[in-house]
């Protein structure tokens, strides 16, 4: 058994006042019927394209809380809160015949990454601070812009950051697990007000 969370801000599709998951379960928004793939994972996780076969979950209550605070109707307040849903899934809930799979985006992406001898690499060519820029560009943008040192002197181009690398950083930020298929309402064990 494992516990996952999902946050829903005020005015979002899964806010309790819009669609109560305890009544409907969670259903991914996939209007085009696109297939699950590493490309779709990168679009979903790094580019925020939620018209995908995936529904984002997190292993972290705190991450879900962050998502629950912000919604299209504004920032949650005590009188108009967001919600964090607690979802319990067991081995018999997922896999063959259940219509539900769980995907670890890191594991899925890692399986598609090129071997070390392949050029270009998915790895960056920046310095040790670059990861700060990827994770939090608002505070550390300079690390994304400064050309890294190269053999024989300074570089001229900013560090190389691939979509694969960004996706992995962002998935780690959110302790993210992707659900493919519908999560039944019976899996939703609790919900918490967030404000």
């Amino acid at each position: 058994m494992a516990v996952f969370y999902r946050g829903a801000g005020v005015g979002t599709h899964w806010h309790i006042n819009v669609n109560h998951p305890k009544m409907t379960g969670f259903i991914p928004w996939n209007p085009n019927g696109v297939s699950a793939s590493a490309d779709r994972i990168m679009q979903h996780v790094a580019n925020g394209i939620t018209a995908s076969p995936y529904l984002s979950l997190t292993r972290s209550f705190a991450v879900a809380w962050g998502y629950a605070i912000f919604g299209p109707k504004g920032i949650a307040t005590a009188t108009n809160p967001g919600y964090v849903y607690e979802i319990e899934l067991n081995a018999h809930d997922i896999g063959r015949g259940t219509g539900l799979e769980l995907v670890d985006p890191l594991q899925e992406l890692a399986a598609t990454l090129p071997q070390p001898l392949v050029t270009p690499s998915y790895q960056h060519d920046g310095d040790q601070n670059l990861s700060l820029g990827i994770i939090r560009p608002g505070r550390f943008r300079s690390y994304l812009r400064t050309p890294p040192l190269q053999p024989g002197g300074g570089g001229v181009s900013p560090p190389r950051v691939t979509l694969e690398l960004k996706t992995m950083f962002h998935a780690l930020r959110d302790a993210e697990i992707l659900a493919v298929g519908n999560i039944p309402s019976s899996a939703i064990k609790n919900f918490y007000r967030a404000s």
Partner: protein, 96 residues
């Protein structure tokens, strides 16, 4: 005390009839999101757009047409950078 802080988005250029007015961030929680309020054809919309400041993407996608989608992708990067400079003015210089 207000639980949010609003940042006027002066300098974000109006494109395809979309004008970005202000971004709302939480005063209470250190969370990398904002709600961006905008007008469409001069009418302020009743729903804002969630912006992930780390990913520099909108989490809400109200437009189906390709031109406006392109505008939104560019605006997400511009607004994220704008908010970054607003919040951390001294951290966004080159560390050369």
């Amino acid at each position: 005390m207000s639980e949010s802080h609003k940042i006027l988005l002066e300098g974000i250029i109006e494109r395809a009839g979309i004008k970005f007015i202000e971004a709302e961030i939480s005063e209470k929680f250190d969370v990398p999101f904002a709600v961006v309020w905008y007008s469409l054809g001069g009418t302020k919309q009743t729903e804002g757009l969630r912006l992930d400041l780390d990913k520099e993407v909108f989490l809400d996608h109200p437009f189906a047409d390709a031109e406006r989608q392109k505008v939104m992708r560019k605006a997400a990067r511009e607004i994220s950078s704008f908010i970054g400079h607003y919040l951390y003015p001294t951290r966004n210089v080159s560390h050369g």
